[in-house]
Symmetry: C2
Subunit: 334 residues, 2 copies
């Protein structure tokens, strides 16, 4: 039925070992025998069985990646960065959506480990003790990708979310805004939620502006929740002159809600956010936002993982990528 390395060996009149060598590009084969083997392979239509190879060599050249939701543009961009680099180093990726839900995350970590991935890229929500426990059963390297965890034990790559938020709010402050609303993500989410919220608070504090609880609305990162939040702000007796949104998508919702109410952006209200997803350049006015290098977060994570899998010495296990304020058209001086 299926042709094996043994069939090729017989066909070529050599041993399995020799076939294995030519398949694996081992230089220790006489060009002539190499040729014979290639011909036999061709003739028989031999295709190496990677599973058998994986069992024998204890390497599968596949890595697991757990991601919150591939249909989310931000994560999809990260995933592309991951896959490109994986590909470059001849790895394949097994992709699992876990929706930032603990049970699902832990379950997929375990099945990925059962499948003998050579490494694991984890992009999740909160990292609990149970996560750490699961990680510790692994005998392969793991890197956290855009995922925060207390302590310094694990390899990780991310941006400084708090600083990014801080910089966004700082820009508003510099433009003279003092009454600044925030549309936050869920505060349980360490990165997109809590850190960005803290960045907002401490930029305000630094500028001597009193924090006003009634000026922050919690959204769910989606467009509609941006709309809801802006509606709320517009009904305030004294409405903010600027809004800081934790994500682009909510910011765009906010912009549209304001425009729908007959207000001009940034004339009447300025809006800034963080992400710089592609949508930021697909709105009117163009969205001012702080760029988070999604693709690079994925690419750098994967590159780090390849080094770890290769047992190379890695100087710094934690890498923080730079964010950058992209000034476009949605922020004006007050």
């Amino acid at each position: 039925m299926t042709v094996t390395i043994y069939d090729v060996a017989r066909e070529a009149g050599v041993s399995m070992a020799t076939v294995s060598r030519v398949v694996n590009n081992n230089p220790n084969v006489k060009p002539q025998t190499r040729k014979k083997v290639f011909e036999a392979i061709e003739r028989l239509g031999y295709r190496p069985n990677a599973v058998a190879r994986g069992l024998a060599s204890k390497k599968t050249t596949t890595v697991g990646v757990v991601i919150p939701d591939i249909s989310n543009a931000i994560f999809a961009e990260v995933a592309r960065g991951i896959e490109d680099i994986a590909n470059m180093y001849h790895y394949n990726i097994i992709l699992c959506n876990a929706d930032k839900r603990k049970e699902k995350e832990i379950r997929v970590i375990n099945t990925l480990l059962e499948k003998q991935v050579d490494g694991l890229l984890f992009m999740g929500g909160v990292v609990t003790d149970e996560h750490m426990q699961a990680f510790q059963t692994a005998t392969v390297p793991i890197v956290l990708c855009g995922t925060n965890v207390e302590g310094n034990t694990m390899a990780a790559v991310d941006i400084d979310h708090q600083q990014a938020a801080h910089d966004a709010v700082k820009l508003l402050l510099d433009k003279g805004h003092r009454r600044i609303g925030m549309i936050s993500g869920n505060l349980q989410d360490p990165n997109n939620g809590f850190s960005r919220y803290n960045g907002y608070k401490n930029a305000l504090e630094e500028a001597g502006v009193a924090f006003d609880e009634s000026l922050v609305r919690i959204g769910n990162h989606r467009y509609e929740s941006g709309i809801e939040a802006m509606k709320y702000f517009l009904e305030l007796p004294e409405r903010p002159t600027a809004i800081f949104s934790a994500t682009d998508e909510m910011a765009i919702g906010a912009i549209h809600a304001a425009q729908d109410a007959g207000l001009a952006i940034p004339g009447d209200i300025s809006v800034i956010s963080v992400d710089n997803s592609r949508m930021a350049s697909m709105v009117r006015p163009l969205l001012t936002t702080v760029a988070q290098p999604m693709y690079d977060i994925g690419a750098v994570s994967m590159r780090l993982l390849t080094k770890l899998m290769n047992k190379e010495n890695v100087e710094k296990g934690k890498v923080t990528l730079m964010h950058e304020v992209i000034q476009r058209q949605s922020v004006a001086e007050v």
Copy 2:
């Protein structure tokens, strides 16, 4: 080092076969021995090796999916549909981006097959003879997902792109438009390109409107190319009263280009497209478009594949999902 089924057997005082049985939920095990084995597993922290299992059983419970570009919102949505159903049937997916490039597509098909996936989901560009050749070397089922191919040999799920385009243009016609521009994708692309272009042409023909070559512009599916196309249309001596765009993203570019030029949508120009990506509801005016059920295309493909892998009898190998015109705000009567 690693604990194997043999270690568990020894620890539990049974044979490997018995351990294998309890791990695989084979009912032929006395509850008492089952318990003993579970305890041993627990005590030793045993984790079954899926690679070894795969070699022995010739099933890997993983399927390969080749996709053009996971960072594209449309495909990402399809991928989510695929993964959800895969998960439901206890499969994992190996995801490969191939950018609709033949060489890359064929390469990944082969590595996926080497990795002994139990099935393959192919989402690509043109399916050439070389593709067919690669497919024919497979001993596992393959389903084409959102990918067209002449002949009726392969399982496939998709929408009727030509009809979808036709329906979009028909709406414009029904609203009284006669001078209708089209922003097309690359005509080499069978689905998003050629089929939609044909739908446009034949809707026109049906309505007795002469086809005018100068009214179609080829874009690359991206926002910017929508902008370029609209600029072109606006400079025409007699500009169109409506535009049909092959994709939402180009449509949004077109809308913005018109608005930037001081024109009102749909007052001055109507715009319709096909896709109904999430962005369609994230523009002003809300985009009228014909909905393509991306998630379902993925989900149904994967479901079909599970049946095929399970050797179930499948009534129809080709399934065409329904599209639907979603009327929002970007089309007006002329």
